[in-house]
Symmetry: C2
Amino acid sequence: MSAAAAARRLRGAPDLAITVLEQGPEVSYSACGIPYWVGDVVGDRDELIARTPREFAARDIEVRTGTRAEELDLDAGTVRTSTGETLGFDRLVVATGGRPLRPDVPGLDAPGVHGVHRLADGADIRGAVAAGARRAVVLGGGYIGLEMAEALQARGLGVTVVLADDLPMSLLDRDMGERICKAMGDMGIDVQPGQPVRAIETGADGAVRAVTTDAGSYPCDLVVLGLGMGPEVGLARAAGLRIGETGAVEVDRTQRSRSHEAVYAAGDCSQTFHRLTGEAVHVALGTHANKQGRVAGSVIGGQAARFAGVLGTALTRVGDLEIGRTGLCSGQAEAAGYDVRAETIEGTTRAGYFPGAAGITVKLVSDSGSGQLLGGQVVGGPGAGKRIDVLATAIWAGLTAEEFAGSDLSYAPPFSPVYDPVVVAARVASRVEQG
Amino acid sequence: MSAAAAARRLRGAPDLAITVLEQGPEVSYSACGIPYWVGDVVGDRDELIARTPREFAARDIEVRTGTRAEELDLDAGTVRTSTGETLGFDRLVVATGGRPLRPDVPGLDAPGVHGVHRLADGADIRGAVAAGARRAVVLGGGYIGLEMAEALQARGLGVTVVLADDLPMSLLDRDMGERICKAMGDMGIDVQPGQPVRAIETGADGAVRAVTTDAGSYPCDLVVLGLGMGPEVGLARAAGLRIGETGAVEVDRTQRSRSHEAVYAAGDCSQTFHRLTGEAVHVALGTHANKQGRVAGSVIGGQAARFAGVLGTALTRVGDLEIGRTGLCSGQAEAAGYDVRAETIEGTTRAGYFPGAAGITVKLVSDSGSGQLLGGQVVGGPGAGKRIDVLATAIWAGLTAEEFAGSDLSYAPPFSPVYDPVVVAARVASRVEQG
């Protein structure tokens, strides 16, 4: 929809006809809001819908919901749809999105196993809760896993989070992951780390009864997949579009397919690149999807545009603990060949004496030789999380720890100590540089 | 104290003796916390004291409180103190701070007129409230003025803010200042703009009775000076130190005096420079004072360091309205010769559907030709204010609106819309660039 809107802004309806095919019932909804709808923080499903097909129609963008693109013929320039039509195109944007990653274990197709992807998934999970589900197992400890664990606990279910890894939030360093793990335990969420799932056990009625690992069996009547999102590329692959090393559609910086000039791909189905390393990555996040769609639409509309890469910035919360990360964590930075320096500091979100001051831990990863900032991680109480944007901006701009340490950030007692914790971390990192 | 601590970190006590002369009873206290102490948000005066003389003594820094430096003899390398001693020095740091600006009007020396500077001022104002003061007039609508108006109102006083300017917060653009003015009015604070004070009227007992302007007379039993802080340079000027165009001690980027090699100056008594324009400015804020002290102490301790300039970043709140600014406002940018482009957007602090989402207005000032970001202003509900740090970092790094618009900021429904309002503002600014 971002691509359609961007193209329409640049070229009017007489000049460019735009048709959107969507297999589901909605376009432009907040998948990231589903955990909060499940948790009753957001009361009404319709609040998660940003724009309706009718609103797009008013801008001369034809949206066909309930219409699946079944097959692409890229040489002929046609799409065959589930409604039996064949539509021609001059330019095609593949925006088939992602799909929840599913472990290859018995029982995964049982009706009590849910991804967190479409609004219908949210409705199904809410239905299971309303029908009396009492125990849930969440597979995976990424953002969706954490958010769903909290949501289901808030609805009164007992929740176990089963992790294949040792710790939740694998894109944070170990010491930060440990804090998150502890906070989850303190909330009463049962975390079971280091246990790849082996089977979903079902009863005679086909309903989910337990999740089994090598270490134990966790009774439940609801299983939620929080293992991340992979690219949905079935349609693209079948049509012969080049698929990159990450399994997503390979595109250039204008989101144009590497294999077909008339075809663009954007969002969770497309491969992108890391801003710092240049490496091909697949990061399924709405922010990138929106921007990539806008780039594709702008280019199709005739205006130069290019996607500037990702740092992998992300933010979530579990209970009162806010968790942000950006850039490279220590392991990623080492793998990319940097001489890694990591510094962690403890501070407070407000002046220490100000009511509501909460603890905050900031970790900075930098390159030991140049001082260049490579990554940041923030874990702390209310007000901590959004500070990750300051680090993301510093890293985006290529600042060194020392350059950033000198920066002129705001101070007022209700908002931060005299030196904001992100600057304290940078100062420690730059002082280490200077010996 | 920052200078002393930095020098001590680099050079031990046998190598460098450090003596601090302080005329008042405390060092290292949070002047910015005084309004919150007056407002009973912070309960205990001692919470505002960051470090005591005893703590410095433990690090071999001798602090003499109640000891005023009366006279400097820079050629002889001596300081004469109020206790009748003459101390010698090899290096001197002048850190005499600022003083509340005072209009030259009758009655200003009445006992009911208070600056907001030292902890004793806070104690005096608290005393006046405890003694039954019922109406206060605050002169000036900068940070201190706003914070004191709110604090006194919270303590049950009727509060009038008398402004010489048309609007509060003169370092924000008009449209932003109008929002603040309205919020103050909505809180029940009486704002009287465009009225330089003409006199403080006192009764037969010498107590304050009213503040008079050309437009009216505002009864009160308490007057608070919120007109800003000027540099306190009496001692430096008498000693022959060169005073800059802003009225503060002129220093180079190592905080060394321009006129005397052995003398440094840091904090509110010293002149500094604007990061973007290079112009001499005087900005009395604790963040700069801390950093400048550290630079002076590092250089004296033998380590290279330099102050990197100020953007004038600042943050406050009045009621639920958070107010941040950084860099150049439109008027400053025009005066500096830029071809100014200013764009203002409205957004929400969280996803629009998420409980607690509040309105936020972001204004970006950029250079029309190059796209370089020059300034940012943020006004909005809880969670709005600290976003000014993201803009401050982008401006610090020299990003254009377009470069910043592509940046990878965090998104999660409890924390922001998919596009953070600061990025939306940058996108609008860069789209305007592109025509």
